[in-house]
Amino acid sequence: MPEITYLDAIREALVEEMERDSQVFCIGEDIAAYGGAFKVTEGLASRFGEQRVIDTPISEIGIVGAAAGAAHMGMRPVVEMQFIDFIANAYDMLTNYVATARYRAMLPCPMVVRGPSGGYVRGGPFHSQNPEAGFIHTPGLKVVYPATAQDAKGLLKSAIRDDDCVLFFEHKYLYRRIKGVMPAGDHTVPIGKARIAREGTDLSIITYAATVWKAMEAADQLERDDGLSVEVVDLRSLSPLDDEAIQATTRKTSRVLVVHEDTRTGGIAGEITARINESCFAWLDAPVLRVTAHDVPLPYAPQLEDFVLPQTSDIVSAARSLAAY
């Protein structure tokens, strides 16, 4: 089986699910004729027709609202945000309507909202955001954010089949940089299950999305230069969180570093830290530390973006301080 990119894995998941279930359809801006801003949906309109790959006006709240109505009627919409930054325009529909529909009115809302997320690509403040924390905080929404091509495909297929609304964050830095061989058959990845990306015994790095790869680089460096055995946990799902995996790695190493590309204040690292304190405090040999983006909008200039976002060297220096504690 040949390797395919993270981006192609997402497209493959869409194709397979649209072939498997005629109720699955895609809707978003420029996804049909143009194939999407990053070409994720390229070829889908000619394959499935414009009734199932629908170009819309620029109105994120309208797109999500239309998708919610279709989901109530038994369809399985997959909404594309051209950039995930624009999901803010649909915040009301997602948090006040979609997230509460089942609870309020027993209205099922099986839909996926997906889009290119994250920085490290010199995209500036409107094309580089990581807005996941705002939605993790909302009961009724599930949130996933894969780091590998295999997980991108498997999680998207699971998200489409899920009976609730799943926000599927896909990292644009990984789109064409990360490749993987897809498992044979109907490959799905369960929502809510983390992955051990690297086994280790001295300290744990809990992370997700693009910073999984930075954590892996840091772990290699720490093993080479410091003799540290670092475990890297790729969360994959942010809501629900895999508490079992978080607790297991904490009990195993007793030193935990949480890393994410999102800004620090209100980021999920704080939630993970609190859960570790609640469940595993007696196992800790050091305070749980965070490496995150600074609390600023993401600037365009490369020097500034590099400063604001967490880098491999930051993870190395934080891990060394944990090891020294």
């Binding site: 001295d202 300290l203 720490l222 410091d226 003799g227 540290l228 055995s229 030193r255 620090r264 040999d285 050091a286 305070p287 530390l289 490496v291 995150t292 600074h294 609390d295 600023v296 909008p297 600037p299 200039a301 020097q303 500034l304 973006e305 590099d306 400063f307 604001v308 930051d314 220096s317 934080a318 060394r320 301080s321 090891a323 020294a324 504690y325």
Partner: protein, 97 residues
């Protein structure tokens, strides 16, 4: 353009003057940008709020060896000794065993 000329009495010379002014303004701005040095990394932390005007770098970017160096910690709590700490785990720790 037709509306500006028809309803607001803009002459071709007026429109050309606007074009020239905009072009000069953009050219001046791009010249200034090209002649200026790249921004310093700490410039990223300026201008988010009126007050404070500047955010502080996170601990791993501020020269601190550990988060605990800048946080309150009870005397004797934890094995870490800033500046001369022996790692509690890793190769050096194992060699000391």
């Amino acid at each position: 353009v037709a509306r500006l000329q028809g309803e607001f009495a803009f002459s071709p010379e007026d429109l050309q003057a606007v074009d020239n002014r905009v072009r000069r303004e953009v050219d001046d701005a791009t010249d200034l940008a090209e002649q200026s040095p790249p921004p310093e990394p700490l410039d990223a932390l300026v201008g988010i709020y009126a007050s404070p005007a500047t955010e502080q770098p996170l601990w791993f970017r501020s020269g601190k060896r550990a988060a605990v160096d800048q946080n309150e910690r009870a005397e004797g709590w934890g094995a870490y000794q800033a500046g001369n700490g022996v790692p509690a785990v890793g190769r050096v720790a194992r060699e000391n065993d």
